[in-house]
Symmetry: C2
Subunit: 330 residues, 2 copies
């Protein structure tokens, strides 16, 4: 491949870039009072009727398709809770994201924003969603969900924030990471799963599903719903997993699964509890004869990774492990 002198990276040969929505249905708003709209600063004040049909439940998917992909199947990239596909596009310190990594590795990429967020939009509450959303605070991001520092280590003053020892997340750029956050609801799991399942039905020749955090449960469940289309399932620190008491793992016995975990998981009870569900599902998969790989990064000598594995300063190293595993499956 041709090399550019400026950045030593080969040029990507791209066939198409675009996007689409899947799912979505019309819902009717009723009983709302009339209001006015101002469309633009200084523009006319316009009476409007907010009652009527609006769209709800759609998911957004953006694709980059290569002129000559090396992988026989595309890579679907599913973000975690309170986040969008932006997680895969860039790192907080401005390095190339995993989307570019896997494009350069020869995969067509499909990066989605799940129902309720980002370019998927969201629907009115309490008229359509029964509850108000939740805005994750910087403290919760730092100390709990993404494990940048121990409990009590967040501080408004950047100079007084503390991180876990050896942290590989670029903590000085945490504000850029917080810009990627979006509000989240707890009431949209069914609609979200339905949209992911609808996405899979577009790919007759199969896909690789790569998920992060909240996306993990959706990805493993999508594979159960369409095992013939799921060529591999990769779950980065899944915050949940199917329940083996209620789900037959033999449905996906021919679908290889990779679980991958970072560091500091013992630093917050949320993660100790969340990890248990994946361990149970892993064991059930193995009992069913499924090929399961379980990587604890610290156990193979890679220390310091946060929950934001694709944002950490060794994100390409972690992506490389995922790529090596995928190449062995495809």
């Amino acid at each position: 491949m041709e090399m550019r002198m400026t950045d030593q990276q080969p040029t990507l040969r791209v066939r198409d870039i675009g996007s689409f929505h899947v799912g979505g249905h019309m819902v009717r708003l009723e009983g709302l009072p009339a209001r006015v709209r101002v469309s633009t600063a200084g523009g006319p004040v316009h009476p409007i009727d907010p009652n009527g049909e609006v769209m709800a439940g759609q998911m957004y998917v953006q694709y980059v398709c290569l002129a000559e992909p090396k992988s026989p199947v595309p890579l679907l990239m599913w973000h975690g809770g309170g986040m969008t596909g932006v997680n895969w596009e860039t790192t907080p310190d401005g390095r190339p994201g995993w989307q570019m990594f896997f494009l350069r590795a020869g995969f067509d990429t499909y990066v989605s924003d799940a129902v309720e967020r980002g370019r998927a939009s969201w629907a009115p509450f309490p008229q359509v969603y029964p509850e108000a959303p939740y805005f994750r605070t910087a403290k919760e991001v730092w100390e709990e969900v993404f494990r940048f520092g121990p409990v009590g280590s967040w501080h408004t003053d950047p100079a007084r924030r503390r991180t876990h020892s050896g942290l590989r997340f670029p903590a000085a750029e945490v504000e850029a990471f917080l810009c990627q956050s979006v509000p989240r609801w707890s009431c949209n799991d069914v609609a979200t799963q339905r949209a992911y399942d609808a996405l899979l039905r577009r790919f007759d020749d199969g896909v690789v599903i790569l998920t992060h955090s909240q996306g993990g449960n959706f990805g493993m469940t999508a594979a159960l719903h369409a095992p013939e289309r799921a060529r591999a399932v990769i779950s980065l620190e899944p915050s949940g997993a199917p329940d083996p008491e209620r789900t037959d793992a033999r449905l996906v016995k021919d679908v290889p699964h990779l679980f991958l975990w970072g560091d500091y998981l013992d630093q917050h009870p949320f993660w100790l509890k969340s990890r248990t569900a994946s361990e149970r599902w892993r064991d059930s998969l193995r009992d069913a004869g499924c090929a399961v790989t379980w990587i604890d990064l610290p156990a193979i000598g890679i220390h310091g990774n946060s929950h934001a594995l694709m944002s950490d300063d060794n994100s390409d190293v972690v992506a490389g492990l995922v790529l090596d595993w995928m190449r062995r499956q495809l």
Copy 2:
């Protein structure tokens, strides 16, 4: 350039794909009651404190940079109200969007989601935004904002919807277009302008600004704030424009401006009123010696365009007019 046999389109040679946020600042939420969070279906119920710092005011920008751009400056693509950058990525009937059109024409593209929407996220109301958002109904989209059909022509049953005679919008796919809609507020003009201005400051060598609808006022104002960086301003059916009584058009006398309008503008009073602001600013620009091009598509024999010019079935024809104009300016 190499041609593919499959789709007769040349391969794009791409140097980089990624994204970033501009603007954004931390705000503090206080006085909210404690609540619980369920992160994943069947996962642990977790107590959380919703009070603390969250990010607000950021804008999202996604770029595709070519290995060998033909244009000396990139193209910034700014959507309209209640919409996101998705408008530029695809058409409701699945044809390539204007982003691909201008990539193929040799422009690096920067497609943004303005403050309050899409991957820019939004901030809590009434704590940060003073008011609730507004969800545009399908009827309002159809009859008023996007001018697909006359007043009274929207119907829940697709078979009973009527369009304007000769409409070029793919009306059978209006649900796909509605999937692109996002909630909108009327209170974020200042934050949005600030973010657009911050975006321009990243481009020392200048840009072309291409806007639609609500984006028009932001684009024309951004040029006033940084005329040395705005190499050209293209406003597709701007819903507003700077006020010549309060703004000196001579600031942008060296910045060529293109205004472009579709059909059926006389079919709704909203558009007759909105267009007046642009006419006044156009006249003021001309008086200041600015090179202004004003295109009414019907006047040059192109009939049937809705407000969604980049979605209409002749979207490539309209894009071609814009491209021809740009080539004469750059």
